[in-house]
């Protein structure tokens, strides 16, 4: 990274770009109502007016232009009354607008917006008799025109500033197809940013090293770019992704889904790793900011040099890349109805879920089954009724099924608002005159199983102490749980220290972990097709549920769980994703990997990583980086699904909590994404600190 990029990064981290922000959002409700616009028309109007209201900002050295000046709030297009009428009896996903899917950005780069517009016009002519189709296509066309006009404003300003180099590019893209790497990056910067302006969020960047590589390759071959100049362009593009991200919605700052996916195989099965794969990793390491968040697809054959490079990113504490194993993911997708070519083209969504760019209108996280709630209810009812252990497992099975049914039933009334602009970058929308909200080739829902390690540990404790050792009476355990172990400290110590725990490769607890996920898979499969024509995909992520389930939250359908039979106190968070219970002392990474290897990832295929923290003291020398790379490859060879490694030092985290002003750039992985530690809510900070307590004794 050259000095210019260093300085740009510093300015963006200092928030200089915020000084050009407009204080107030625009208002368009009145005109929408006066003109009696339809929903798609209102969305198109929103895009148009947002683009018109954007003020042109070009820094003197900018190579890639666009800085958002509009505030975070997206102006309403319906009055609260009309909105209530429109959505009555329907379920909205999170904030409402379509989120967390991935466009096929190659459509933009290959055709340009003018090319896409021509496709829309052709379809409009062919299907002119269908008013709904015409309405959609006109809306898509209106929004594309708005984006092109915004680019024209940028181009004029660049000319006026004497920046003919930049003006030349802005006069071509995004209207025209991109011909160079620089044009491709600029085109993507505009069109990606406008998706956010329209209120859609968790807007992924897809297989960046695949769709961008042809442009870089031809530039390098023709001598238009050197590796160094290409790296600088890429660095600026990555830094620019951090300019506006505080305006993007998320549960916590940093949870914005600006992910990209590298590596893996091509749709025809060839190796997809190329020079750009390496370049992205090098530049991301040097830029060292929280966006874009990188996923790397690997397999048993992935070479150690590439994994050593990615370990460098882990070493400096970025919390990415996250690894997904093609050898496991692709067959599981195919077994569940994905075409092989599409499965080979998968990317990772905002956090972990496997989705197909341009072909998936999937809602990959409609909610989480609370394993702790299912187990807790089953244990309380079963123990009180004097049942045997197997009967209690039956109760868990039923509870999990009921939770899955409740989640899926709620989403049977899912309402996805139209997104005519986002549709431009999806396969078949313009070609068939259908908005993305009406569905794409894949329309599945994902449900995660959260808190699995704690739940399995609780079952294991009951099995061992009550039914095998007979060293604990059911009533004793029940009252200890009711009293939050107050006055039962000895019992709590016993549960914590002598219980069988997931993460130690202990067959007892691990078998129960496997049972929980088998219950989830069976419940999802048993549900059958949803009204949107898709299936339910069971997964292993936990997002914010590890906190919400423990302390209750408006976003949860499941009840808060009090003290649990594994010795966990009321209010303490559960394990995040696939990780041992926060209080469990485990032997180390090998045993933990072995425990989680037992899950059947052929059936549990929505994604959700084994999450491991390595002390930064591990990475003392180049040899240790290589050994960590070897561990990652072993992970792939032995058939795990997804892995997320962090490097952190406890002392640093404690100091950052006490003196945030000294640690503004400290990056941590939270659940499926990286954020700045000092910008997290205290309970998330504490959970991260708790995950690290064991490394120093």
């Amino acid at each position: 990274m050259n000095k210019q990029m260093e300085s740009l990064k510093k300015r963006v981290r200092a928030g200089e770009q915020r000084s050009v922000r407009q204080a107030e959002p625009i208002h368009i409700l009145a005109e929408c109502e006066a003109e009696g616009l339809s929903w798609p028309r209102r969305v198109a109007r929103l895009i148009r007016r947002q683009c018109e209201a954007e003020q042109v900002v070009i820094g003197p050295d900018d190579l890639i232009a666009f800085t958002r000046t509009l505030p975070a709030a997206v102006p309403p297009i319906y009055s609260p009354e009309d909105w209530a009428r429109l959505t009555a009896g329907r379920t909205l996903h999170e904030l409402g607008p379509i989120s967390n899917i991935c466009a096929d950005w190659s459509l933009l780069l290959a055709q340009g917006l003018l090319g896409r517009k021509q496709v829309a016009m052709a379809t409009r002519e062919r299907l002119a008799h269908d008013p709904q189709t015409v309405e959609f296509l006109d809306s898509a066309i209106e929004s594309m025109e708005a984006v092109m006009e915004l680019a024209t404003c940028y181009a004029s300003q660049a000319r006026a500033m004497g920046r003919d180099d930049l003006a030349g590019i802005l006069e071509k893209v995004p209207a025209q197809p991109a011909h160079t790497f620089h044009e491709a990056l600029q085109s993507l910067r505009f069109c990606h940013s406008v998706v956010w302006l329209g209120g859609n969020y968790h807007v992924g960047l897809g297989r960046f090293d695949q769709y961008m590589w042809p442009y870089l390759k031809s530039d390098l071959a023709a001598g238009r770019l050197s590796i160094e100049t290409a790296e600088n362009l890429l660095a600026e593009f990555f830094i620019s992704l951090n300019k506006d991200s505080d305006l993007y919605p998320g549960v916590q700052q940093g949870d914005n889904g600006q992910t990209l996916t590298l590596g893996g195989v091509t749709p025809d099965g060839g190796l997809a790793v190329n020079e750009l794969t390496h370049m992205v990793l090098r530049v991301a390491r040097d830029v060292a900011m929280i966006d874009p968040k990188i996923n790397l697809r690997i397999s048993a054959q992935t070479d150690l040099d590439l994994l050593s490079l990615t370990t460098e990113l882990t070493r400096i504490g970025l919390g990415f890349p996250q690894y997904s194993n093609d050898d496991v993911v692709i067959p599981a997708l195919v077994a569940h109805g994905y075409d092989l070519e599409d499965a080979r083209d998968y990317v990772v969504a905002a956090c972990w879920e496997f989705i197909i760019p341009g072909r998936g209108m999937e809602v990959v996280n409609i909610g989480a089954v609370s394993f702790p709630a299912a187990v807790d209810q089953a244990l309380r009812d079963g123990l009180a009724a004097g049942e045997d252990f197997d009967r209690m497992l039956d109760r868990v099975h039923i509870q999990v099924r009921e939770q899955v049914n409740r989640l899926a039933d709620a989403y049977s009334h899912l309402l996805l608002p139209p997104a005519p602009y986002y549709s431009v970058f999806m396969q078949g929308c313009l070609e068939q005159g259908r908005d993305v909200c009406e569905g794409l080739k894949y329309n599945n829902f994902g449900i995660h199983g959260a808190g699995s390690a704690n739940a399995a540990d609780a079952l294991a404790a009951v099995k061992k102490f009550i039914f095998e050792e007979h060293s604990l009476l059911p009533d004793e355990l029940l009252s200890a749980m009711v009293e939050n172990f107050s006055g039962h400290e000895a019992l709590r110590t016993k549960l914590e220290e002598q219980g069988s725990k997931v993460g130690n490769n202990d067959p007892k607890a691990d078998a129960l972990l496997v049972t929980l996920f088998a219950d989830l898979a069976e419940a999802c499969e048993g549900y059958g097709r949803t009204p949107r024509g898709g299936i339910l995909r069971p997964g292993t992520g936990s997002a914010m549920y590890y906190i919400w389930l423990a302390s209750s939250h408006a976003g949860m359908r499941e009840p808060e769980v009090g003290a649990t039979a594994d010795g966990r106190l009321k209010g303490q968070p559960f394990s995040a994703n696939l990780a041992p219970s926060p209080d469990a002392r485990v032997r180390g990474p090998i045993s933990t990997l072995q425990s989680f290897a037992k899950i059947d990832y052929g059936q549990i295929f929505n994604g959700g990583p084994i999450t491991m923290e390595l002390s930064d003291s591990v990475f003392k020398n180049p040899e240790s980086v290589r050994k960590t790379a070897m561990l990652v490859r072993t992970f792939a060879q032995l058939g795990w699904q997804q892995l997320q490694l962090n490097s952190l030092c406890l002392a640093t985290l404690l100091d950052a909590k006490a003196h945030p002003e000294n640690h503004k750039n400290l990056i941590v992985r939270v659940w499926g994404w990286s954020g700045y530690f000092c910008e997290l809510a205290p309970e998330y900070q504490d959970h991260i600190i708790a995950r690290h307590l064991y490394e120093i004794d």
Binding site: R587, S591, S624, K627, T634, L650
Partner: protein
């Protein structure tokens, strides 16, 4: 069947030998080096460790077959990653019969013995014969200084070093550099002179003093009393080894 006492089993210990390893820390050590950074390894008795993470008991008794079974669960993974099992401590020689029995029960996996060299020659011979690689500590050549800083004579250590070089097994000499104690030119030159030309010697590994050495004492309910100046700059004089034709690396 013998049993032994272990104060920790650590996985992914990538600084304890080639590849990815799991290290078994045997509890109990005949030496009491003033710079010891594993104080819980000194006593043979289990002891409570109180840290930020709460309390735990360091020191668990294992039957040989039980420990071997635990380690064998990982043998495939360790082998695939050019690694294996390391026996460290404390001092493995102090529980030589137990360690020997565990090694005999291990699947085909690389074994590294990390030893102070202080133990009787029969035990030493027994464990060296069962290991693929030996990490052998040499701290001080001067007999009096050795006694002062470790509480023991170094006769047995130097004698075992001779046995080791005649065993045909590859070994690494590890020298903990303690400021003003082991890092003097005089001591380093004496070590270089002692090891030069020994058959089987791969290289000498100089281990710079770790300022965190004393950090575990409080947790273990012990007192850290270094009788040297921790902050004194280290003399990392690798040249003294190179001059003797001894390969040297600094960790």
């Amino acid at each position: 069947m013998t049993s032994g006492i272990v104060f920790d089993i650590k996985e992914f210990t990538i600084h304890d030998g080639p590849g990815i390893r799991t290290t078994v820390f045997m509890k109990g050590c005949p030496l009491s080096c003033t710079w010891c950074h594993n104080p819980e390894g000194q006593s043979r008795q289990p002891q409570v460790i109180r840290s930020l993470a709460g309390e735990r008991l360091a020191g668990q008794r294992y039957a040989a077959a039980e420990l071997a079974a635990l380690l064998n669960e990982q043998a495939n993974i360790l082998r695939a990653n050019e690694g294996g099992i390391t026996f460290s401590g404390g001092e493995p020689l102090l529980q030589a019969d137990f360690v020997a029995e565990v090694i005999d029960l291990l699947d085909d996996v690389h074994v590294l013995l990390d030893t102070s060299g202080y133990g009787n020659p029969v035990d030493f011979h027994s464990l060296v014969g069962r290991s693929d690689l030996i990490y052998f500590d040499l701290k001080l050549i001067d007999r009096e200084m050795h006694r002062h800083y470790t509480g023991c004579d170094n006769d047995m250590i130097l004698n075992n070093l001779k046995l080791l070089s005649g065993s045909g097994k590859p070994f690494v000499i590890r020298v903990p550099l303690v400021p003003g104690v082991t890092d003097t030119d005089e001591n380093l030159a004496a070590i270089a002179e002692t090891v030069r030309g020994l058959p089987g010697l791969l290289y000498v590994d100089l281990l710079p003093y770790n300022m965190a050495a004393g950090s575990k004492y409080e947790y273990a309910g012990m007192e850290f009393k270094p009788d040297y100046d921790e902050k004194r700059p280290l003399n990392v004089n690798a040249l003294l080894f190179e001059q003797c034709g001894v390969k040297v690396q600094v960790e």
